[in-house]
Amino acid sequence: MRSFIPDYFLETPRNLADALEQMAKAPGMWKPFAGGTDLMVLLEAGKLHHRHFLNVSKLAELHGISVSPEYVSLGAMTTYSDVRRNEVLALEFPMLCRAAAETGSVATQNRGTLGGNIANASPAADSPPALLVYDAELELVSAKGTRRAAFHGFWHGYKKLALREDELIARIHLPRRLHTWTEFYRKVGTRRAQAISKVCFAGAGMLEAGRIADVRISVGSVAPIVLRCAETEQLLRGERIAPELIRAAQATLAREIAPIDDIRSTAHYRLRVAQNLLAEFCESLAA
């Protein structure tokens, strides 16, 4: 334990309104603490520099998965285990369920939350590529009210969120649009279970008359943020799947992503794997 524990505040607000008021009174002072699976690791490594946290884990408004005709709405406190147990998600958002199943271990999945995952903004996170492909929308609350923002663009730099200091991520809304598409999710980690991702690929596409009518591609761990690969998507739209197309898409992908060498892997490996997964995705569309 490499932190001075007595210096840390973790207060439990009685309800959401109180939490938001506390955050509004001292903007930037209080940060939310959800399941703790990221923050506690930082704490133990002596790297949690922020000291004042609000325990949002019991706030009712942040819990629960609800279904409407157009959206499935997940509370920020939805855990990976909650995701895996939900039948509608299994049917209509299988990549999110795959991501949840590949996040950490059962113990991590019982505690880690989608809201916490988004707020932590790690480029190696497993769910965000699926969320980006699904065009997820975030519902953000503060003492001033509620707003919605597309998840795409919400991360605008390494660990930089378009989140105001007095705001909380309350819910994640998933438009029920892609469930007829072909979906492909693959995480390449350091081992088969409980691994930090080296490359994480999520893709969805639809063919019409043998051509790619529409496609979405998101790749994690290859840039400071999880990317939507818009250029690669654009190259693929309207085309027939063929080896030359795949090669051209791989070349475009190489320009869009910026993998690095780090203690887990190399830039070259990440690039090759991202390109190979792109090929695998295209082949799955053609099949």
Partner: protein, 742 residues
Amino acid sequence: MENRHIGRSVPRKEGREKVTGAARYVDDLTFPGMIHGVTVRSPVARGKVREIHYAKHIPWREFTIVTAKDIPGSNCVPFLIEDQPCLADGFVNHPEEPVLLLAHPDQYWLEEARRAVHIEVDPLPAVFSIEDSLTQKQVIWGDDNLFKAYTVEKGDIESAWSAADFIVEGEYATGAQEQLYIEPQGMIALASPAGGVTVWGSLQCPHYVHKALVRIFGLSKDQIRVVQTETGGGFGGKEDYPSMIAGHAALLAWKSGKPVKIVYDRAEDMVATTKRHPSRTRHRTGVTREGKLVAMEIDFTLDGGAYETLSPVVLSRGTIHAAGPYSCPNIRIRSRAVATNLPPHGAFRGFGAPQSVFALERHLDRVAAAVGLSPEEMRRRNFIHQGETLAIGQVIHEKVEMEKLLDRALVLSGYHEKRRRFAEDNRNNLTKRGIGFASFLHGAGFTGSGEEYLASEALVAATREGKVQVLAGSTEMGQGTNTVFAQIAADALGIDCEQIEILQPDTSLVPNSGPTVASRTTMIVGKLVETSALNLKKALFESRLLKAGFNAAEFHDACAQFIHKFGELRSLVKYHHPADLHWDEARYQGDAYGAYAWAVYVAEVSVDLRIAEVHVEDFVAVQEVGKVINPVLAAGQIEGGVAQGLGYALYENVVWQEGRMANGQMANYIMPSAMDVPKIRVYFEEIPYARGPAGAKGIGELPLDGTAPAIANAIAHATGADVCEIPMTPEKLMDLLERVHA
């Protein structure tokens, strides 16, 4: 002697405590008035300590601070020599080298204080690789960076090359490997000039720690006491390092006057303690067109880190195992252990042999390919037989059946059928399958005259209640020492295993049975236990207080009467080196080990070319080990060793930055999980070893030798990639695969 327990899977003696959470490891213990200790370590690899700053916001008066100046005896952690200081004094030679110690009652304040000490070092140029050490880019140890060198010669290598139809060369490398026992290192100490020094902790060798504390404190032997607590894994990582942490805890206890507990967190344990020696091996092999080995020239180098510690012994075992279970008339092995500014490397299960066996077994597959033979035919034509000699000139007197082990392993693994099927299936598949094997041996016990030098002892004693106690310095750390000793003693005496108590190793109570290392505990110390128990039974028979065919009640009565009459019933047995084992230390020739275990391991892999990931699909381990004392425990040793070998081959990569391990977290140093290890299929053959208890030989380290090369050979078979180093991470394999397809 009837085997009522030997050969049966008697349940683990301390199993109930372990499954209920009642077993007490060092961090579970507290003493009245106990305070906590931490270590402040060097931030750089090499340099002169200019000054130590203590930041002002810490109430230093509340802390106990220990530096080298506080060491009452000798500032060293003694092994073969005394080059390693207990606390760095003026100079540092590796990152994380211990410089000073702090103690305080509050663990949070203690950690705050650790961060508040700044050690200013004027850096000196450092050396981080075998190559840089050999070329003496800097001389960082002694005159020439050389801890130790050996030369082993058999026959006449220079003239042998002319007889070779093919000469095949290769260079092989293995990386460092962290032992990663799930219980980190820890010690609790009580120390004062009046009371002497007592330490309790997680350790493999209580008498090694004892010896170190005698030097560090300058006290006499009976003023030092070392007690082993339940130990959560060791694998060699707790062979030498505990002497260092025990010294530290005791120094803080000495200065503070209080009991002191030091327990490392995982990050500190990973970066500061010992690892398996990295290696580089060069092979040059001459072989006839019939595949007969005529010349083997082997150059074997280990990276020892900053201080000598155990490197000469690791080098010795690696050297002796470098030419494997083969008969070759002309061999030269030149080996050396060199210094670098890395934390000293140390013992890890296998102890030099995994390094040299990896190189050999990978090389022989390549030699086979050059000659146009299958890997198995190559081995068959060269396996050693009874009466032939190993590289160090040891004649194999016992029966050896490597061909039979190979046949059995290939059948059990479906090797031939799979090779045919994979050749077909791999054609249009981006997932390639392959199957490969390694054939090898592992010597049990200390090398050469080592056992004679250790002169181990064990004692068995009976109580008036008819209970029998085994007193030995051998430690239980999961491998089954307690249970195996109980089985041996029970069968030697003819009583029930439940009647046997294995005493907790405590140097004030138990004799020095030597270290719990080198696959020696069952074979060497178990034999002493057996002899001692037999002596007890003999004494009872000779006293006529007991007759053959006795029952439990009669045994109880006989013990009570014997003790009443003679005062005690005990037998202390000392090791006697067999007269027919001869070892020439100067020429490095002769009988290196009393017994060898022999094995063939087969690995089946699948390789996903898109991501260059290897998964081991099936693993067959066939070995001849003398007598299996406890089948479940023995299989457990093999299975656990294979899993560690799997990690060594594929996952366990130490990332070095300026001599410091950069990935010192379990999130970033990857050991296999339950999803990564296949069902490991274990098979034993038994050719009883006359000098082992009930015929047993040592097995603990064996699985580390053959697992990685079997996997490497399987990868090469699956993909055509010329695997010459481990860990063969996906990143490295992808580079090799790109070369294959280019």
